[in-house]
Amino acid sequence: MSKAVLIDTTKCIGCRACQVACKSWNDLKGERTVFSETWSNPRFLSSNEYNRIIFREIDRPDGQVSWHFISRRCMHCNDPACASVCPVGALEKMKEGPVVYDDGKCIGCRYCMMACPFQIPKFEWGSAVPLIRKCTFCAERQALGLAPSCVTTCPTGTLLFGERPQLLKEAYRRIGSEPKKYYPQVYGEKTAGGTSTLYLTAVSLEDLGLTRVGFRTDLGDVPQGIYGRAWMSKVPFVAVAVGGLCVGLHYLHKRRAEIKAEERKEG
């Protein structure tokens, strides 16, 4: 039922066609961007860039340099922190896979940006009436039975679109058939409760130096939203306990004062 995309970064040649396709399908404004130290361009995701290829050069033991290209975009978590924290429910996980955003509800509090463990939601800082922007997994294309525009554009088959369980099976088939080519883990299978964007890499994300730029490996297998929900589940009990305690103590003291007054009268 739930769609996902498997990103086999070993197949990526860094052509950035998916970046272009993403911008044109979503009608995102062109802007002057700059190269990073490693030739990534643009340097950061923003309200105008939902997808970017991170370039990485890794020194190999044989003295050669190997290139790695990793697409960074919304992970479309199975249980997204952004949707869990949004006070007005503007963000929502669809059962089809995409995490979508309702322009009409958002109040612009930016809690989703604080809470997202992958730092994906971006704000329209340039606008006087700003909204949150991020990859939509082309939910409107999916509704028409089409694949996301990045997947359709990719010339090397790096991006594979399909049902999540099947993609996971395929990912492990690839790891099993060519163990030397792949790092034996699928990023997104369990991270933060599992995501709809899945990654295969040649080496670990630590070796690629990506853990501080959105590919955290210290998140654990539980969705971040659970911490907030655990707190919220206690709120009604705290409310009743505090309220009851207050009323009880108030009447206790009142009764005590009455008894004291009576004793004084009698004595």
Partner: protein
């Protein structure tokens, strides 16, 4: 129209230097706020995708609400724990609490990307969201405080039958106020439960909720102390040293409890404390300079019973609460983000104007409402 109550304060009707400064700050802030509304957040603040929350959240919202904790702290002390001797401090506390929440709401209005949708959480619900709960509690609690001040206003105009109605339901208001405050003061800390990996070990704890609650009590008590000392000076009254030194004892206990909570939490999590860098510098200032030191100061009767001593101890404790909110929401992320953040001039102007506005409103309340005990006839 009822005529003005027989109140007169020095400097009334005249433009004193203090008031002139407040008005200038207010005007600067109004200009900045207008610029923010028309040009947008990106053009007027230094906020960015790496620091979506900045000065306005740290000070106007987190610190403002904590410092306004005096209202519920005093209400609980007097009506629930039956310590009636603190009654003279209740009304000023309510007034300063209302002022604090007004600062919060206006600050939040300018901080939101879509300010005119500030009412959305009323009709669009997400009961999973801590922020949803905070917004409801703050809405309701600000209403409770407004009713409280309304009752005080009724007293000024002598509307006895109305006052009787409110006095009959007063316990409901008190209990609702304490309950709502307990919930949102702690939940403001719980907002940060979701991002333990992004935060420094020093503040990323499951105990953020209880810690925020406890420090809100500290913030409330120290602001009441400062406010009482300052207003006795400004309005030329005798300071309530006796009551304040008793409150100082309470503050010392709250500080000690808070200190114990923090140390226990750090120890239990095995946080790396003894390192020297900027993040740890602010942590040490917070824990030792603004929690342990004022607690130590207040343990000496010589300090507790003098104006100067109380100024210092309460000042340090209040500063510590503010510092804690900045640490949790900003300092804590320094090691994590790719960009830096320092508030823009306009952000600072708006926050300064909110403080000035708070002081002016407080002054207005002190002048036009029966707040001080000398203005109350008998039972109240």
């Amino acid at each position: 129209m009822a005529e003005k109550v027989q109140k007169w304060y020095p400097g009334e009707g005249k433009l004193t230097i203090g008031r002139a400064i407040l008005y200038v700050v207010l005007v600067l802030g109004l200009i900045s706020a207008a610029a923010r509304l028309f040009l947008g957040l990106g053009a007027t603040t230094n906020l960015n995708d790496a620091f979506p929350w900045g000065l306005w959240v740290s000070f106007d919202i987190l610190a403002g609400v904590a410092l306004a904790g005096g209202g519920f702290t005093m209400a609980a002390t007097i009506y629930i724990f039956n310590l009636k001797k603190f009654e003279p401090l209740l009304r000023p506390a309510k007034l300063s609490a209302f002022m604090g929440y007004l600062v919060f709401v206006i600050g939040l209005f300018f901080d939101l990307g879509q300010p005119w949708r500030i009412w959305h959480p009323m009709v669009m619900w997400n009961p999973h969201s801590v922020l949803f709960e905070v917004s409801w509690c703050v809405m309701l609690y600000t209403t409770v405080l407004a009713i409280d001040l309304f009752i005080i206003g009724l007293e000024r105009y002598g509307k006895e039958s109305w006052i009787k109605f409110f006095r009959d339901i007063y316990l409901v208001l008190v209990v609702a106020g304490i309950m709502l405050s307990t919930l949102h003061q702690s939940s403001l800390g719980a907002l940060f439960l979701l991002m333990p990996q992004k935060m420094s070990d020093l503040w990323a704890t499951k105990a953020l909720g209880p810690l925020f609650f406890c420090s809100a009590v500290i913030g409330g008590m120290s602001v009441i102390t400062l406010e009482s000392l300052l207003s006795s000076k400004i309005y030329k009254r005798k300071p309530e040293i006796g009551i304040l030194s008793d409150l100082g004892k309470g503050l010392a206990i709250a500080l000690l409890v808070y200190f114990a909570m923090k140390v226990t939490d750090l120890y239990a999590r095995g946080a790396t404390v003894w390192v020297w860098d900027w993040v740890h510098f602010w942590f040490f200032v917070e824990l030792f300079g603004t929690v342990a030191l004022p607690a130590l100061l207040l343990s000496f009767p010589e300090v507790r019973k003098t104006q100067k001593g109380l100024y210092w101890a309460a000042g340090l404790a209040a500063f510590g609460v503010v510092l804690n909110r900045f640490n949790v929401s900003l300092t804590s992320y320094i090691g994590y983000r790719q960009f830096g953040y320092f508030p823009s001039a306009m952000e600072i102007f708006v926050t300064a104007a909110l403080i000035a506005m708070g002081i002016l409103i407080f002054d207005l309340g002190m002048r036009y409402l029966p707040i001080h005990r000398s203005e109350l006839g008998g039972e109240h």
